[in-house]
């Protein structure tokens, strides 16, 4: 009977394709929007992850996210070195600065100043030059993707990418590209430029405090929680692990930008559209087949078999549509990830989409089952 149920469903090609298309669209919309959201959420932590293997980030307690530059006194790094269990501590500058390209294009950029001595926190995936070249004044490292896009020379030229040896002005200070690296896309769209900490301070307008963060590495075997507690007890600053800082950043950005609500609405819309299309189409399919269901009931088909038939019909459509929808979303993702746009399809996204489609399917099935189960088998005879 189950095989017959599938044939009943697939035999009406137009309705079947309508059902599959409707549900696949819903699955695609849910998966795609959720993946873009996951991608964006993930990109909020790009900077923190790319700094590398650091145990603690020391910062002002009021810092709400990674770009929130509430500067620390210049002595902070030294103070951290004195905390028991700390192996080493280095300063980090991060801030938005104005720059002007050789062709006169003006833009803003994120300048990251890493420790002059250790060069810790610099990019690891160099595509041209070496990180040690940063010691050559006034060297900077640029992202190769930014070099071809945001930092490409556009005015009066042929749109050529910025390359090693090119010069630009950062806040009216001369800078020379001494290398390129391959960075991960970030939530913030400005090009990210690495230089040494001291050179970064030279680029920045003079202020009393300029140190954004102190990166702390604990001694081998030291209790991280204890070091964290000591830092917070002995200084007015707080220490966060990379994951904690990522979480704080993500949470702040998602709440303050409203993207959580926007994407939530888009995902909800996909769910509702899927439910409406599937529910209505499947219900119409059931209505069209009602006299056959009545005949099946009269012929002795049990309620449990009928329930099984309807559930199998819905689940087969749900499963196929889920596959198609996810496939389309993944294909779109392949193209999207070649751009700066965010896209991250996690297994949780697949599970959530599958769950949503299952709910859509189950609700549609319930709608139809109510009709089928309430159907009097006597309806198969005219006038009864």
């Amino acid at each position: 009977m189950i095989r017959l149920a599938i044939k009943m469903l697939m035999g009406d090609r137009l309705k079947y394709l309508g059902l599959v298309a409707g549900m696949a669209f819903a699955a695609m919309m849910i998966a795609q929007q959720a993946s873009i959201f996951s991608g964006l959420a993930s990109q909020t932590g790009t900077f923190i992850r790319e700094i590398g293997d650091v145990d603690l980030w020391v910062m002002d307690p009021q810092v709400r996210f990674s770009e929130d530059n509430l500067a620390l006194p210049e002595t902070t790094a030294q103070r951290m070195k004195g905390i028991e269990g700390v192996d080493w501590a280095v300063p980090l500058y991060k801030g938005f600065l104005r720059c002007q390209l050789a062709d006169g294009t003006r833009t803003s950029m994120i300048v990251v100043g890493i420790d002059d001595a250790t060069l810790f926190g610099g990019p690891t995936n160099m595509t041209a030059g070496a990180i040690t070249d940063l010691r050559r004044d006034p060297g900077i490292l640029i992202d190769e993707r930014d070099a071809a896009t945001k930092l490409a020379q556009k005015r009066g030229g042929d749109g050529r990418a910025m390359k090693v040896g090119d010069r630009l002005s950062i806040n009216d200070n001369d800078a020379v590209v001494i290398g390129t690296y391959k960075g991960s896309p970030s939530f913030f769209w400005d090009p990210v430029v690495y230089t040494t900490y001291s050179r970064a301070l030279r680029f920045v307008p003079k202020e009393r405090r300029l140190m954004s963060f102190v990166l702390v590495k604990a001694k081998a075997g030291a209790d991280l929680a204890a070091i964290k507690a000591r830092i917070e007890a002995t200084t007015p600053y707080i220490a966060r692990t990379g994951k904690e800082f990522e979480e704080v950043t993500r949470s702040f950005i998602l709440k303050s930008t409203g993207i959580l609500i926007n994407f939530g609405m888009a995902i909800g819309l996909g769910f509702v559209i899927g439910l409406l299309i599937t529910g209505q189409t499947f219900f119409n399919f059931t209505l069209d087949n009602l006299r056959y269901y009545a005949a099946l009931k009269a012929l002795g088909t049990s309620a449990s078999t009928l329930i099984g038939m309807v559930i199998v019909q819905v689940l087969s459509v749900t499963w196929l549509s889920f596959g198609i929808g996810i496939g389309i979303a993944a294909l779109m993702g392949i193209f999207i990830t070649k751009t700066d746009l965010a896209f991250l399809m996690k297994w949780q996204t697949l599970a959530m989409t599958g769950g949503a489609m299952l709910i859509v399917g189950v609700l549609s099935a319930i709608l139809s089952l109510v009709k089928v189960l309430r159907l009097e088998p006597a309806a198969v005879f005219k006038g009864a």
Binding site: M1, L4, M8, L299, G300, S302, V380
Partner: protein, 271 residues
């Protein structure tokens, strides 16, 4: 078709051929359906309609009983009650020795699936299935393996003359062919009771006659009880008995046209 021939030995030892009316023959057969004082009302209050007002009727094994009468007289309600797809309000009704009202819903469904065959006016063949698959449905309901069910379906389709069309879908068949498929579906699981609702109303005269010949034949051959609701006077000749209904009552029960033909035939033949 409705005349039965019986053989007996005469006193001289030669064969005596006696032709008796079908009604007489079936009157001696066991009763498959016995209804007494069956009532059924649809709706409540002022809008209620009394469809059956105390129906008494018997259907014998191997009998083809026709229910006739004007529209709305309760024919369809009565076969629905007899087939177990509608609950009666009051009265007694024993079908193949069981009382539906004493059965649970699932028991009744299972009983129906095993013992009752249906032929509907609108055929109700599932359009997306092949005719073999349509015919196999009652067997699948009775948990016969799919392969075996399809084989049996093809066998019975061959018997009704559609052995070459087993893989066609119903919409490729004529009305008469579709009704033959419906009859094959009704018979494939060897039910003991067959209920037919206007089986010839959608068919032309010749096709209707062929369908009734088919039904008449299987009833005789398989000791199957048939209850046929019809308006079609052209098929009355196939009935063993004709029960006329009006306003929820059985108003008369008489032998079918075949019964009169049988009597005429009996009188004219030397004994």
């Amino acid at each position: 078709m409705a005349a039965y021939t019986t053989q007996s030995q005469d006193t001289q030892g030669g064969a005596e051929v006696v032709t008796r009316s079908a009604a007489e023959v079936v009157a001696h057969k066991p009763i498959a359906v016995r209804c007494r004082g069956v009532t059924k009302t649809y709706g409540t209050g002022n809008s209620s309609v009394k469809a059956l007002r105390g129906v008494d009727i018997d259907v014998h094994t191997g009998e083809l009983l026709m229910l006739v009468g004007p529209s709305g007289c309760g024919k369809t309600t009565l076969i629905s009650v007899i087939a177990g797809v509608l609950d009666r309000d009051a009265g007694d009704c024993s079908v193949l020795g069981v009382d539906y009202n004493k059965m649970r819903g699932d028991e009744k469904t299972a009983f129906r699936g095993k013992n009752v065959g249906f032929v509907f006016q609108a055929f109700n063949l599932i359009p997306t299935l092949t005719i073999a698959e349509n015919v196999s449905v009652p067997l699948l309901i009775n948990r016969v393996h799919r392969r075996e069910a399809l084989a049996k379906a093809k066998d019975i389709l061959a018997l009704v003359g559609l052995g070459e069309r087993v893989n066609d879908t119903p919409n490729r068949l004529s009305g008469g062919q579709q009704q033959r498929v419906a009859i094959a579906r009704a018979l494939v699981h060897k039910p003991k009771l067959l209920v037919c609702d206007e089986p010839t109303s959608a068919l032309d005269h010749v096709t209707g006659q062929k369908v009734m010949e088919l039904l008449r034949g299987v009833a005789s051959d398989n000791a199957l009880s048939l209850v046929v609701v019809t308006h079609d006077q052209r098929i009355f000749e196939f009935a063993d008995r004709i029960a006329e209904m009006d306003d929820g009552h059985i108003t008369s029960i008489s032998g079918g046209k075949g019964h009169k033909l049988a009597e005429h035939q009996a009188e004219s033949e030397p004994k």
